[in-house]
Amino acid sequence: MKLLELLGYFNYWVFAIILTVGLYAVISKTNLIKKLIGLSIFQSAVFLMYITMDKVEGGTAPVIQEGVKDQIFSNPLPQVLILTAIVVGVSTLALGLAIVVRINECYGTIEEDEILDAD
């Protein structure tokens, strides 16, 4: 029973692991691109959390159909929210990459420690 309960939270375990992996990459890597990759992984974990929480077992898309009664719907709201959050994540990533390009133009490197040494 205990094990099943743990497995029932499988998605949330994966969420926690991905979240930590991403955060670790952001903190430990000195390469700016790798930092941004870490940031993206970190954000994807949150997408997984939102998608998981809206899933209702046996639920379908929330479309009212004629003649079908007692239809179970998955909650569409978190999906809408996370769609917005994905857009936000993509724009952050794009801006981050643009800044890395500029850093590379100005410093000739994208290693954090070399940038610190250069100034």
């Binding site: 979240l19 955060l23 952001v26 700016l32 930092k35 940031l39 970190f42 954000q43 949150v46 959390m49 939102y50 929480m53 709201l77 978190p78 929210l81 917005t84 959050a85 936000v88 724009s91 952050t92 801006l95 981050g96 800044i99 890395v100 500029r102 850093i103 100005c106 410093y107 954090e112 940038i115 610190l116 100034d119």
Partner: protein
């Protein structure tokens, strides 16, 4: 429906819609004029809303006519009215003053984009303040953050780029933490509307996810608000940003995150979570005290003018958080008043820095010798705002420090120790402001500037700086308006809870 009813929406929509249009105004004077007009219009809207709140009329606006909790609501109460004044006021004043400084620092071809990013940052910040919906706050937070990354990266020095990268990483982590927290609360309550959330948290059977959410939200917003020790992005970002951007963001950006933090912890979480008040106080108070002391100490030994003022900003965030951590009406109104007064003082200081920077490229204190004979008006305005930052009687800063000390005395047996800390840090502020005054007034000019004639900053820049300095004195002598807003904000936050 009269126009007044639509103001909360217009407050966000006007700068948001104007931003893409500004890009098309290619002659750069026109872009500036357009952006300034829009910012002034936003300020006028904020003033109208604040007057309405002072007359006891809080506005709620249902987007698209969908009633809460199904639709998205915007709400303006006393605290948000005060924040709106700060955000739009800082944005408008910096734009109004900033043309000479921005012309100096931003290439003409990029200026329309720069002004557009400015308006986006402003509409994001006001959006955070008016939104009464947890997810909308996240979206507006990201709008304002992305725009402010662009603004800061516009700095002339290449060091702006690593600074903004660090800010981007930390800001995104903060916002994502907030998003996780909101997700967890939504999971348990099924609502995103702040008021509805508060009502439903009481019915949640398993409180653990809510506690985790409270942690994520508090840490995430503390990162955005530069609460010590999560402040490391501030000094570089403020130092390397274009001077006008520093004046704008230092006056309001971190405070808006702090506003959301206070709103979440007081309005949503406080009432229903057992001992949340104590947990919040125990979390916030040590960080606030450490922030005040450490950041003031760092400022005392800092050699670069902008970095020094940035460190002092971290200490001031500490004061605001300290007031909030008392969990009393007195403490919260001191916090809210300090939000307003510090914005005035620091905004004025950074505007004066922009004036100085017009003549002095290198803003290290050792290079600024003799500035007072070259730019007497600028230095005068700087000193007035500096006195307000210290909290000398007769300036705005005094009012909020006085309130903070009163609140500390009421807060319990350890109140005296807190008063001691506030006084100590004020003395430290005297030291670091004095170091600047010494450089400006008494230090011999370096060889390069020795023969320089009297060359004040451009009139436009100087007039606005002087106006802000005068406001610092005005609100020190007649503090009724911000105090009334701060008091009613505090009682709204604690309504029926203590």
């Amino acid at each position: 429906m009269d126009l007044l009813a639509h103001l909360p929406a217009l407050q966000v929509v006007v700068p948001l819609l104007a931003a893409p249009l500004i890009v098309m105004l290619q002659p750069r004077g026109l872009a500036w004029a357009g952006a300034t007009a829009v910012a002034l219009m936003s300020f006028a809207i904020a003033v109208t809303l604040a007057l309405a709140v002072l007359n006891g009329h809080t506005s709620e606006y249902a987007m698209g006519g969908w009633p809460a909790p199904f639709g998205i609501t915007l709400a303006v109460d006393a605290l948000s009215a005060l924040m709106l004044l700060v955000v739009t006021g800082a944005g408008a004043a910096a734009l109004l003053a900033g043309k000479p400084s921005i012309d100096q620092q931003i290439e003409p071809s990029r200026q329309p984009l720069f002004y557009s990013a400015w308006l986006l940052a402003m509409s994001g910040l006001v959006g955070i303040v008016v939104a009464a919906d947890a997810f909308n706050i996240f979206v507006f937070m990201e709008i304002s953050s992305l725009a402010s990354y662009i603004l800061i990266a516009g700095g002339p020095d290449r060091r702006a780029l690593p600074a903004v990268f660090k800010y981007l990483i930390m800001g995104t982590i903060g916002a994502t933490f907030y998003l996780i927290g909101v997700g967890l609360i939504y999971m348990m309550t099924g609502t995103l509307n702040l008021a509805d959330m508060e009502a439903r948290i009481g019915d949640v059977s398993d409180i653990n996810p809510i506690l985790v959410a409270a942690g994520f939200i508090t840490i995430g917003l503390a990162l955005k608000a530069a609460v010590f020790p999560l402040h490391v992005w501030v000094p570089n970002a403020y130092t390397q940003a274009p001077h006008m951007v520093t004046a704008f963001l230092a006056a309001c950006a971190t405070k808006v995150a702090l506003y959301v933090l206070i709103r979440f912890d007081y309005m949503v979480l406080q009432a229903e979570l057992v001992d949340h008040v104590i947990q919040f106080a125990l979390f916030a108070m040590p960080l606030a005290i450490l922030g005040i002391l450490v950041a003031s100490a760092v400022a005392m030994f800092e050699g670069h003018l902008k970095r020094l003022l940035a460190s002092s900003s971290i200490a001031q965030i500490g004061y605001i958080l300290l007031g909030a951590s008392f969990v009393s009406v007195a403490g919260l109104s001191a916090s809210a008043a300090h939000l307003f007064n510090h914005a005035l003082a620091k905004g004025g200081l950074f505007l004066a820095v922009a004036c100085l920077a017009y003549q002095y490229r290198d803003l290290r204190l050792s290079q600024l010798g003799g500035a007072s004979t070259r730019m007497p008006w600028t230095c005068g305005a700087f000193v007035v705002c500096g006195l307000s930052l210290i909290g000398v009687p007769g300036t705005a800063g005094f009012i909020s420090k006085w309130l903070l000390i009163n609140a500390a005395l009421q807060s319990g047996p350890w109140g005296w120790a807190l008063v001691g800390i506030i006084l100590l840090s004020s003395l430290m502020a005297v030291v670091y402001i004095w170091r600047i005054v010494e450089a400006l007034y008494f230090q011999a000019p370096i060889a390069e500037h020795a023969e320089a004639p009297l060359t004040e900053a451009p009139l436009q820049l100087l007039l606005v700086t002087a106006a802000i300095a005068i406001l610092n004195i005005y609100f020190g002598l007649f503090p009724q308006v911000p105090l009334e807003l701060a008091n009613s904000a505090a009682s709204v936050l604690l309504e029926g809870r203590l």
